[in-house]
Amino acid sequence: MCRLVQWSRRIACACLVALFVMCGLALHAQDDGFKPVPILTGSAAYFTRVTGGQFQNTPSVSPLLLMPFGDKWLLEAKGNYSDTFAKEAGDNYYGSTTAYGLGYAQVDYITKYVTVTGGRFITPFNIYGERFGPNWIRALQISPLCSPLTSGSALGGMLHGGFPAGSENVNLNYAVYFSTNNTHHLLATDRSTGGRLGFFLPRQRVEFGASFQQVLQLDRPHSSGAYLLWQPYRAPLSVRSEYVRSSGTKGSGYWIESAYRLSQISPLRRLELVGRGQQFFAAANLSAATIKKLGAFGKDTTQADLGLNYYFRSDVRASLSYGRQFVLGTNTNTNLWTVGMTYRFLMPLGPTGRSM
């Protein structure tokens, strides 16, 4: 026991020393004449959710450490911590559950056409997981119904990148990855492989693409998906949409979301209106036992959400949303409310050069 404590102390000390050495090295990184500095960023949030009359209060924090090395390397590590205080309908008791985990911890080696990533990372399937995971970014706090259809985290390697595809107005982006199976409760990943191919047209601010994922364990489901993003220059509008189809018992679904910033009406210019519609279709011919086992994925579901986001600054935001979920065949309609605040912090861990 005593030896164990000694060892864990030694490991903690070694980690600290390694962190300082890395910080020192990182301070000497180069980039086109600007030396990148290590940064501690991430977000803190507080949300109250009311799902069918049940209250949940959740404070959370997700720190992200960015450590650049040389002119081609980046080390990024993100953790998540949240406490959920729940209250049953008609009950005064608030039980609390703590959740923490490693969002990702990856090393990136960047070249003109290929970035090589190794470690734990977010799987490149469609757009929601990689782009709208952080709560300071997502326009509605509730994730789409079809998000859990695919494996969200990977432990392995990925090749990805973006470059102009023959013309100034077409940028191609791609990602292929491989992940091993990991059963650790904080780091669980599936053995899987897959990729994504996307085209971005900067003059129209339109992006579209397709993804594929093959899980290589258990019943080996595969999923394919497509996505579209459009942000016209003429209006402060963003439209985004995803479609996913999975094999086996998992079903399929789509969502379409639009966010409109009232920037042309001076007193309301910090306000954003959001709407999202989505449908989930359970796989056909499921047995009663499978439906029971699948829970939420056993039934066709339709959901509509409306939200308001008020931007105090680009990094501080208050949000309110209302949604209604209809589960077909059970006559269950549920109201979903969320209200809360998000704050994205960003601090340098070294000298920053000339201040702005």
Binding site: F34, H160, Q231, P232, G277, T302, N333, P351, R354
Partner: protein, 103 residues
């Protein structure tokens, strides 16, 4: 059916939002408004580079989240490197946006 009516209403609201945006767009061109403001001065070449950087910033940096403000140069270098990895922006976009944001 009650549910169908709600879904129809929600999609109608979407369509309305799209229509409103198409008409409302005529007034202002820059949307979402870039949080970065121009700093003038220098030669025409500098000015051309600044405009190119601003164009690339506007095309890329407000797509997934609210476009950020300017930061100190060494912070911008880290952020833009991170966005090259996360958002797969091109090498040229990274270079131009870095210069523009670090100005």
């Amino acid at each position: 059916m009650k549910m169908n009516r709600f879904v129809v209403a929600a999609f109608f609201a979407f369509a309305l939002l799209l229509a409103v945006s198409a008409f409302a767009g005529t007034g202002s061109k820059d949307s979402p408004a870039p949080a970065v403001t121009a700093t003038s001065g220098g030669s025409t070449q500098d000015e051309d580079m600044r405009l190119e950087g601003e164009k690339r910033f506007r095309a890329n940096c407000g797509r997934c989240h609210m476009a950020p403000p300017k930061f100190a140069p060494r912070m911008v270098a880290t952020i833009v490197r991170h966005m090259r990895v996360r958002a797969n922006i091109t090498d040229e976009d990274r270079r131009q946006i870095l210069r523009y944001m670090a100005q």
